[in-house]
Assembly symmetry: C2
Homo-oligomer: 367 residues x 2
C-alpha cells in the first residue's frame, strides 16, 4: 500500500464515495434538465473520429494542466454528434467535470489525476499511471453515447490507485440508482449495503459447460471500419462463436445464455462483480474506462486478464490484465465446485473464451 | 374502444399500474431473497429448447385453465438451465404468477387472459388474441435469463387490449426502479411523473443521416443454430450492416451510434418510447413479450412495423406491426425537421433499416 495507512485509505474511500454520489447527482440533474428540452439548443456540435465518438473540447488537441483544474474545466464542453438529441446543460456538465477534479485537487493536492482529458488528441497516448504517487483515474461520464441519448447505462467512474493498482472503485449510475463501491480489504458493495457478488452463500461455481450457461457482455465499440479481418470483423466472429449452438462454428459454438451490450465498460465490469455478467470481453477502451470496474471486480473476487489469447492458451499461466493494455477479459467471482476451486473454474472459463475469440488489434505506446 | 367507457378505462389503468407495482415488488423480493443464497438449493432444473431458454413447468406440455388460476399456478415453478445460479425462492415466484392472474380474474372476471402459459409446448401456437373481449396480455417475468443471473434488465409486463389493440401498458423493472406506464389518450410515463419521450420540447427529429446517429437495439435471441442463412446468421449480418462505417458493407454500412442488447423485448420497446433507443429490431418473440411495450411506445408517439422488408421497401406504405407477428421494427417518437414531419422521419428510418436487414424466418399459425 506504499505510504497510505489503513486509516488514510478509509478516509479516502469515504471521500471517493461521497464524490461519486455528488457527481452522480450532478450528472443526473444535468440529464433531467434535458427532459422536456428538445433538439435546438443553439449549441454547436462536432464529431471526432466518427459518429460513435462524442467528445469534449479538451480532446481537441488541448492538454489539461493538472495544476489548473478550474481553468481547464472552463474549456470542457459536451458535444454531440450531429443529429443526436442535443444537450442544453453545458454548464451543468462543466460543473461535474470541474467538481470532481477540483474536489480531489483541494483535498489531496499531492495525488496525481489521470483521465481522458489528461491526454491530447492525435498525439501519443502513453500510459501515464505509475507507482510513484497515489493516483486518481476518473471518467466523469462513462457511457457517453448512452448519456447523449438518455439510455440508462451511463455513470460516473472514479478509481484510486496505489502503486499503480486500483484499490478503490466508485461507480455511480444515477439513472438506475446503482452505486457500486469497493476498497481493497473492505469488500465490494451495491448501494453500500448489499455485498457483491449478490449470490454468495455460497458463491456459485462457474457453469460446468461454460461458456454455456453464461451471460456474455459483447461490446461493439467504435472501431467500425469494414476492413477484412479488422477489429469489427474479429469481434463479430468472436461474438458468433460465443453465441452459437454447441457443436456449431466448427466446434467453437459456446451457446452462452445471454448476449448483452451496455455501452459502458466500467459498468460492465461492475455487473460482472455483481454476478449478473459471467464473462466480459472487450478491447479498445482505456484505463479511465475500466479502473473503477477493476477495483470493484477484483475486490468482489473476480478475475481480469487479457482479451487476447497467449501463444499457449491451454497451459500458460493466466496473466493479470494490464490496466492500460486496452485488452480485457473479466470473469465473475466464482465459488468452488466438487471438482475445482473457484479460481480453477474462472481459469477454465478464461481458456474456453480464448479458444473462441479472435485476437484484437489495439495497441498502446509503452505498454 | 368497444364497450369500455373512458371512466372504466381510467379505472382499469389505475388497477394495472398498482398490479405492476405490486408484482414488481414481489419479483424484486424474490430476487433479493436470493442475495446471499448460493448455488445448491436442492431444486431440480431442466432445460427446454436449449441453454438460453428458461422454462416454467406450465410450458412442459400443460395448458393452464383460465378458470383455475391458483391451481394452475401451483404447477408453475421457476427452472434454470444447469450451471446457472439457482433460485431458492420458488414459492415467491409462484406467488407473482398467481397473484397477477388471480387479481385480474377476480376484479375483471369477464376479461380474457393471455400469456406464455396460455400456450402448450410443442403444439400449435395459434394467436389467441381477438377483438371479442377485453384481454390482458401478461408476462409476469420478461427477461428471464436476466432474472436468473440477476442482470438488472428484467421486468413485469402487463398489457390490456381492447378490440385486439393494446391500449394500456405497464412495465415495472424493479432492479432499476423503472416503471413505464401508458394508456391510450393519457400519455406515456416514466415513474408516473416524467412524460415520454424524455426530450419533448420539441421532440427531436430523426437524425438526417440515420441510422447514423441512432442507438440500435440488437437482440441475439435464442435461435442459435449455426445453419447457413439461418436466423442467427441473418441477424448478425443485419447487425454488421447497421454497425459498419458509412460506405462499408457494400454501401449498407449504417454507422449507428451505439449497439445495445438488453435481453428484454418489452423493456427495449419502453426504452424506445423513452427515446433512449432510436431503432429496435427483433424477430422471434411473442405477443406477451411486446404487448405492453407496444402500448407504451405507440402512446409516446413511436412507430411499430414489421422487421422484414416488404417487396417494394422504398415505396410501399409502412404497415402497422401485427402484435402476434413475431417480427418487429420500432422507431422512437420523432418531431419534425425543417424538411419532413416526424412521421416522415420515422418512415425514412424504417426504409433505411429495411435496406440493411435480412429477412428473418419466424412464423406464426394463423397470422
Amino acid at each position: 500500500m506504499a505510504s497510505i495507512t489503513d486509516t488514510e485509505l478509509d478516509e479516502i474511500y469515504a471521500f471517493a464515495i461521497q464524490l461519486g454520489k455528488d457527481a452522480g447527482k450532478m450528472l443526473m440533474d444535468a440529464a433531467t434538465s434535458r427532459f422536456g428540452a428538445g433538439g435546438n439548443s443553439g449549441q454547436e456540435f462536432s464529431e471526432k473520429d466518427n459518429a460513435v465518438d462524442i467528445v469534449t473540447q479538451t480532446d481537441e488537441g488541448k492538454t489539461r494542466e493538472k495544476s489548473s483544474p478550474s481553468r481547464a474545466a472552463s474549456r470542457v464542453s459536451f458535444q454531440l454528434a450531429p443529429g443526436v438529441s442535443h444537450c442544453r446543460s453545458r454548464s451543468s456538465l462543466l460543473d461535474v467535470e470541474a467538481f470532481i477534479h477540483r474536489s480531489i485537487s483541494s483535498r489531496y493536492p499531492d495525488h496525481k489525476f489521470v483521465g481522458e482529458e489528461s491526454y491530447s488528441k492525435g498525439t501519443s497516448r502513453e500510459y501515464l499511471i505509475d507507482d510513484t504517487a497515489p493516483t486518481w483515474c476518473v471518467d466523469p461520464l462513462d457511457g457517453t453515447v448512452n448519456y447523449a441519448h438518455l439510455f440508462p447505462t451511463f455513470c460516473v467512474s472514479i478509481a484510486f490507485l496505489v502503486g499503480g493498482r486500483p484499490v478503490i472503485g466508485v461507480i455511480q449510475a444515477p439513472f438506475m440508482n446503482q452505486l457500486f463501491t469497493a476498497c481493497k480489504g473492505r469488500g465490494a458493495w451495491l448501494n453500500e449495503t448489499t455485498p457483491l457478488p449478490l449470490i454468495r452463500e455460497p458463491i456459485p461455481p462457474m457453469p460446468a459447460a461454460a461458456p454455456k450457461g453464461c451471460v456474455f457482455c459483447c461490446e461493439w465499440g467504435k472501431d467500425r471500419r469494414d476492413i477484412p479481418d479488422g477489429n469489427m470483423h474479429r469481434k463479430v466472429e468472436s461474438f458468433m462463436n460465443m453465441a452459437a449452438e454447441v457443436g456449431g462454428r466448427n466446434g467453437k459454438g459456446g451457446m452462452v445464455h445471454g448476449m448483452r451490450s451496455l455501452g459502458s465498460a466500467t459498468l460492465g465490469l461492475a455487473y460482472t462483480a455483481m454476478g449478473g455478467v459471467d464473462i466480459w470481453w472487450e478491447g479498445g477502451c482505456w484505463e479511465w474506462d475500466v479502473a473503477a470496474g477493476f477495483a470493484i471486480l477484483l475486490e468482489a473476487g473476480g478475475l481480469v486478464t487479457t482479451a487476447n489469447a497467449p501463444k499457449d492458451p491451454s497451459n500458460t499461466e493466466i496473466p493479470d490484465a494490464h490496466l492500460g493494455g486496452r485488452l480485457y477479459l473479466a470473469i465473475r467471482p466464482a465459488g468452488p465446485s466438487s471438482s475445482e476451486t473457484g479460481r480453477q473454474g474462472q481459469e477454465r472459463v478464461v481458456r474456453e473464451v480464448w479458444r473462441r475469440v479472435r485476437e484484437l488489434d489495439y495497441t498502446r505506446p509503452g505498454v
